[in-house]
Symmetry: C2
Subunit: 205 residues, 2 copies
DNA sequence: CCTAATACAATGCAAACGCATTGCATCCTT
DNA sequence: AAGGATGCAATGCGTTTGCATTGTATTAGG
């Protein structure tokens, strides 16, 4: 019965505005009026789609995290069937191979993290790797090691956990400008090399 | 000529109030009036010691970072002269051995990080390990490895960089409640073990 | 065509904000 | 004792905030 519009598109536009504002002037710079202005719509429209500021930011964070995950999963899926080592490398590198959009999203997520801590309802969305992901990664490490002929020592699960920590930490460093992408990449390569150990027959000293 | 008071104590009290407010309700919850109330003083006093909100938060961040570093350096200094491996372990563990106060400070620093990105004047205070620290740590790693009789492969500088990333990343995880202290500790131990390699004569597989 | 529901747009409002100003009490200096 | 600098308390101001309310245009169903 009403005017028919694309709700999804409206929300996406508003959230986009929130991202832009938060990145350029901090989360404190995100107000209903400014979001409306940035999106080029009226304040009434913002209120129509989000009952409160809180909900707006919440959805913006939610969409940012989803978008980031989607990008990572896409680049992982792109490698297709390959050796465990290649897949592992792609997984970890995907986290730090941030295009401009990903940097924006990461920065936004980081900006929200501060507020997040005092708002338990928002926390879960930023939780670290789940059990499933760690188990999968541990499997990759095990396979890659045995493929290299490198000795297994157990603790691959911990190795996986640490590797994700390293990758995300480097990703954050890139996003906030504390590291260049190349520096992060070579660090991650170094980590993976140490992680998988020497190839069969390779000298170690 | 004026009333004589302990300026340092006043500022410390105000900054303490900022920390408390920021942790419990986010940085947005830090206002001049609330800081005054939390510190149990008048708003006039807050203004007297800090010309603007910005300066207040800036000093609060500065003091938080200093306090954190002081704690870490203290626990490192406590080990005195010891083997490189012991010193190295202490250095890295110091970052994740957070007492309640350190957790508060870390959380605060994290809360400010969001705003920081849009305020370049504040950024440097949160910069990662400097060259000096990395060189020192790389030296420890080299020494610890040779003490173990573990082969050197070069790249100790990168190993040092990665190790600090792991430690700080774990520290952050603890502070925001994504990991327990024990879990972080065993992960860090695992990392160090892999980092230093097998002891002479030890089986690897 | 009529009606009701929807999608806004416009405006209003109380609260809260940072900061400026003012006034007074205190204490050292002379 | 006088005087001036300082430490603060109190209050006021103009702006901005999130949100509520109200009004209006649009369109599907009857």
């Amino acid at each position: 019965m009403p005017k028919v519009v694309d709700h999804e598109q409206r929300r996406a536009r508003l959230v986009e505005a929130v991202w832009a504002l938060a990145i350029q002037s901090g989360l404190e710079g995100v107000t209903l009026r400014r979001v409306a202005a940035e999106a080029g719509v009226s304040m009434g429209q913002v209120q129509h789609y989000y009952p409160s500021m809180r909900e707006l930011v919440r959805d913006a964070l939610d969409r940012a995290v989803r978008a980031l995950n989607a990008k990572i999963e896409a680049s992982i899926g792109a490698v297709g069937a390959a050796s465990p080592e290649v897949v592992l490398r792609e997984c970890l590198h995907a986290v730090i191979a941030l295009d401009d959009e990903s940097v924006r999203l990461t920065r936004f997520a980081l900006a929200v993290l501060g507020r997040t801590m005092s708002d338990p309802a928002m926390t879960p969305v930023l939780a670290p790797g789940d059990d499933e992901l760690l188990a999968f990664t541990a499997g990759l490490i095990t396979a890659a090691r045995s493929e290299r002929g490198s000795p297994l020592r157990g603790g691959e699960r911990m190795d996986a956990d640490i590797s994700w920590s390293v990758a995300t930490s480097l990703g954050v460093d890139i996003a906030i400008g504390h590291r260049s992408a190349e520096a992060a990449r070579s660090l991650l390569d170094h980590h993976i090399e140490r992680l998988l150990g020497p190839r069969r027959g390779e000298e170690t000293g």
